[in-house]
Symmetry: C2
Amino acid sequence: LLDKNLKCPGFDSRSIGVFDSGFGGLTIMKSLIEKLPSESIIYFGDSANAPYGDRTSSEIIKYATDAADFLAQKNIKILIIACNTACACASKIIKQKLSIPVFEIITPSFQTVLKESKNYNIGVIATRATIRSQIYKKLIEQHNPKARVLSLSCPLFVPLLEEGHFDNKLALNLAEHYLKPLKKKKIDTLLLACTHYPLMKGIIQKVMGDDVKVIDPSLACALNLLSFLEKNGISSLNAKPKYEFYTSGDTEKFKNIAEVFLEKKIDQVLKK
Amino acid sequence: LLDKNLKCPGFDSRSIGVFDSGFGGLTIMKSLIEKLPSESIIYFGDSANAPYGDRTSSEIIKYATDAADFLAQKNIKILIIACNTACACASKIIKQKLSIPVFEIITPSFQTVLKESKNYNIGVIATRATIRSQIYKKLIEQHNPKARVLSLSCPLFVPLLEEGHFDNKLALNLAEHYLKPLKKKKIDTLLLACTHYPLMKGIIQKVMGDDVKVIDPSLACALNLLSFLEKNGISSLNAKPKYEFYTSGDTEKFKNIAEVFLEKKIDQVLKK
């Protein structure tokens, strides 16, 4: 009890570590900033090795464990793997390796979509690598045998969003092009299973129509984390939380894109 | 004279080596196949390190010299650096290092546009990295002080083309979006200064209108090489030339994209 008191139970001002192969995880960070406004965050984007989807499993494991080690050395209290490919390939290994809690984004994503769907006709859109892995399809259908998952890859959404086209004619054209096959099916929920896609949620909702619930899993991830921090008494009370950014790629490019993704000015991005 | 006869003067059946950071150089290879149908070609796409435009100069020099060495060890008679970024950063170093002739694509490109323009209002479109370097603007204006170069980057053309959208509504929408500022200027020639862009020459021509001559430099590169081989008596007479492909990235992805770029079936792609 004394020990606990000395450690100031109920509070832990250390940062949350978030990593992604590039920029996509910034949508997770954005939801964290919104839902957990007292938490400091250190983000690492492994842009030099992005996209992980083009790499072999052993390459992804190497990059992801390197990234996790890099953040773990920065005295973080929790690590979030905010990259679908890294979650699928390396989250088990990283959990075994690190002594801090490690969160991945796949579980809260598929749980949210199962909670929201009424007819269990579920659409999933993601990158080609994620769709090919069938990870969401398998998990959803395994947890609810009534569910039917229609998966679709939208490979040009990521470059489009990284160029800042969230909500214009180009984004609309491309969304109409990709989502056409899904519109013919009677899905009632559509999971955005790529961390970039929440940036164009508005356009996707417009194309799919009001009868389809478009699920941005970054909110579920943030709320999940919030309840974990509170339950374990390791929330932070920083009035001025710190946001730090590292990339293995070009720092200037990272800064420009990150400011667009976060809708927020960034002081500096450091090279890993 | 005897020596020359023994070496079979006038012919050299060794392959031509072509390298690019990824797929773009395949448009150069396509023109070579068309204009030099007896030449065997070995292509290397350094996809694991693409795009070079996001790398530092010293990284590009390392990757490009590694790529050049890799092809030089395959007993090629000539090397073509079919990548604008590698040409700009590393062609001098590679020329010094290799004992075979090394061709780059920048010189034939700007020479062709200067030959074709009448009013010397010249448009140049390329990737962001090439436009930022101002290499074409400087070279063109240096060789003809009357020339005015209007440069424009079209960053989404490369991912669009690598997804196979050459000649559809998406390609048209994107070309209209990017080329709008150029259409207002009185350019009479438009240089495609990115090796990918010739794939959408038709769409670009359509958007720019018949008064603008759209220059695909891959043809000039091929004709340049043809005359060099003939002058130096090192053409090949292979009735069945061999085409070999290597990539540092995913071989399956490379094969799929390369077949689309070359409009030709490929037997195999080997991992470097």
